[in-house]
Amino acid sequence: MSELTELTVQNPVEEFLRMDRIPHIWCPGCGIGTSVNSFAHALIDAKIDTRNVAIVSGIGCTGRVAGYVKQDSFHTTHGRAIPFATGLKLANPKLNVVVYSGDGDLFAIGGNHLIHAARRNVDLKVICINNLIYAMTGGQTGPTTPNDVITSTNPYGTFDASFNLPYLVEAAGAVYVARWTAFHVRQLARSIQEMFAKKGFSFIEVLSPCPTLYQRRNKMGDGLDTMKFYKEVSKIRNGAATKDVALTKSGEITVGKFVDRERSDYRDLLHDRLLDSLGDDYVETEACTCQ
């Protein structure tokens, strides 16, 4: 296959990636790379200036995204993507700050950061790759693992309740909440575009296959089988009540945009309050920039 040395047209996604690091470490049939295509296409279609985009990840297989994208990015410690991103956004409000991380990182160790950033309505764009498990560390049960699933820490099956992420994030205060799967590549790209147009805490859950550690232990086939399963059982229900969209091991997956509302974001509230209280004494701080 080495005949194919000269590519006459380049994949537009490559512009957004550190190609010297590709091939990446993700397993065959892992959905994380697929979601990155949707992300790159959203930036292309929305004509976003990538010099004003920063990507922040925590730790995990998904956290690796920060290392593969060519935008300014930071791979924080486990669970701390949101506080890092919050600081970044407050210090430089012109930046589009994206948090790209895993379900475990955002909702287990980082769960408190997430709910409080949503409560304060910090202007962050959060993309959560939900493979229903702690993948990188060997497939342990996480707060998103549905009932009756075999994991390395629940060899007889999980029995404790799991989080319904859209419901949780809506209750905490997010202004934009959507869910797609790795199968919904175009819908996901459109949703990411919408998120870039939004001000305030925005959240997209992306269900994604982890054939190596989730599907394999549960005899659910490989990545392709999971993608076919998503195609088969997903129902698009925009505006669905988030309390009704909880996931089960093999039941229907409700996808779509669930929440799209307006609420003053944290920085505007802070600005207004300081201006109110200090009047002429209030001096707007210059945005920090990196040249």
Binding site: N11, W26, P28, N37
Partner: protein, 94 residues
């Protein structure tokens, strides 16, 4: 006449089959040849049916394939890693 074509960087492919499964016009198939890591990479079994929609590229988790409108068809012909006979066999088997 095909409206589009694909480019494949075989050495990046991990043979997940997403591109083959989700191409709307079933242009692709996994070949019987291997890349250096031992994966069966895709090739165009029905090049004439390609619309250049790039859905294969959107699905590919490894950035190994992408579709585009027109142009560069010659490179693609070179990318088919199997003999014409094998290609014919796979086509018949579908």
């Amino acid at each position: 006449m095909a409206k589009g074509s694909v480019q494949i960087v075989a050495e990046r492919c991990k043979a997940c089959g997403f591109c083959v499964e989700f191409c709307p016009t079933h242009v692709l198939a996994l070949s019987s040849a291997f890349n250096a890591k031992g994966y069966h990479t895709p090739y165009m079994v029905h090049p004439d049916k390609c619309s250049g929609c790039d859905l294969c590229g959107m699905y590919c988790p490894d950035f190994a394939i992408f579709g585009h409108k027109d142009a560069a068809k010659e490179t693609v012909a070179a990318a088919a890693p199997v003999s014409a006979v094998e290609a014919k066999e796979e086509q018949d088997a579908r």
